[in-house]
């Protein structure tokens, strides 16, 4: 490589990394945390045995999951940021991005959490009930800790997916990593180099997350006998 190329790499990397630290990473962390809480709520409502008027609430959550799983994230982002102002609802780019990503994560992860809860044998519920526990106690103390282990790999998938999906926020004027790369590429006429640099930083972030995932998996599986230790 020429020294010119090196120079371009060294001058481009700082703003790209800065954008990842100020936009990509916080956007991911905030949206995923809120999304997980929403997912947990959604899964619990959808699994709730209650009847009567409560069924309407359960129906609404079903509709929410259905819509957000059946439409592209980019379209959702455009509706929230460019569309809603038409009916007088206006958000800053940040808020629009967080709302959309949160709702999207909530819809997908609620299915993951719901499946994980359902995978815990009924005998666990029954044993806990016979010990006098209430439904919330059984859910939070017995079932969810086990469901966490089951749902960790698919949730990590969603998390890593979200890191990359935040690049879509560039389309609603957020100057995150991808947007910064795009701007420099436009100035320097080096799209291959710049987009590769951006890809490289995503790769680093996601690799760190993958390593973190394997530690978490070990920790949440500490009570499972693997047979080869």
């Amino acid at each position: 490589m020429t020294s010119q190329t090196w120079h371009l790499i060294l001058t481009s990397l700082p703003p790209i990394i800065k954008a990842s630290v100020t936009y990509t990473i916080p956007l991911t962390l905030i949206s995923f945390t809120l999304g997980l809480l929403l997912a947990l709520l959604t899964a619990m409502v959808r699994l709730s045995p209650m009847r009567g008027p409560f069924q309407i609430v359960r129906g609404l959550f079903w509709v929410y999951v259905w819509i957000f799983r059946s439409t592209p994230l980019l379209v959702q982002l455009f509706i929230v940021f460019f569309g809603l102002p038409n009916i007088g609802v206006q958000f800053s780019p940040w808020i629009a991005a967080i709302i959309t990503f949160t709702l999207n994560v909530g819809a997908y992860s609620s299915e993951t959490i719901r499946a994980a809860i359902l995978s815990i044998p009924n005998g666990q519920w029954e044993a806990a009930y016979t010990l006098g526990m209430t439904r919330p106690q059984v859910l939070f103390r017995i079932v969810l800790p086990q469901a966490a282990r089951v749902s960790l790999p698919p949730l990590s998938n969603s998390f890593i997916g979200l890191v990359k999906d935040t690049s879509l926020a560039s389309s609603i004027t957020i100057v995150e990593m991808f947007m910064v790369g795009q701007q420099i590429a436009a100035k320097t006429y080096e799209p291959l180099l710049l987009y590769s640099l951006v890809a490289f930083v995503y790769l680093i972030i996601c690799t760190v997350l993958t390593i973190l995932q394997s530690y978490l998996e070990k920790w949440t599986s500490r009570y499972i006998q693997t047979g080869n230790n």
């Binding site: 666990q124 806990a128 010990l131 006098g132 526990m133 209430t134 086990q146 499972i224």
Partner: protein
Amino acid sequence: MLQLAHINKIYGKRKALNDINIQFPDHETTVIVGPSGSGKSTLLRSLNLLERPESGLYSFDQQTIDFSQPIAEKEVLQLRRKTGMVFQSFNLFPHLTVLKNVTEAPIHVLHQDKATAEKTARQLLQQVGLDQKANQYPMELSGGQQQRVAIARALAMQPEYMFFDEPTSALDPELEAEVLRVLLNLAKQHNSMIVVTHNMEFAKGVADQIVFLEEGRILFCGSPQEFFSEPTQRIHDFLSAMSFTS
């Protein structure tokens, strides 16, 4: 005293329990026997409201439950406080150590402080011969050991009644013996127990009262002497089918 009157439970078209009337005396052991599918589990599970019969009255000391009416959550919890259950498949909480399996409900249901709960738990684990295993996870234990932990876990709630649903059916014979010894001890200490079992030798040794169920009906309720020495033709056939000699 625990008493059932005119209990009916229907699954689809099948009557799993058909007009059950029975009393379970305090401080005695009732053994329930009968062919597979006769309703033994359904009967036991109705007693702690894991199953809800369609009709009938259930009284436990002063508390009476009418199955034809909706049952309040408070009633359910109150009744479950007084009963303990041991399942065929153990159902220990795999994510908790043996000690925590035993202290979980005393701490979070009875609101005992941790030290008290752990002290009691260790005593109970000693009683079932597993004090050495307190810090291990259930999956590191044999089936017989897991079932003994499950017994300690139920006892930690100090239930008035203990229910056992085929507690040894999932175990190899040598592991079965170690669990049955624990049950025999509990019976000797005059605990109030109801045990479903296929082990006739054990039933003979432990029962104060024997109940024979078939197709959801009680065909016999009486002393073990009567059950084993003067059986009706149907009971005779059942007992023969349970053993190899006839």
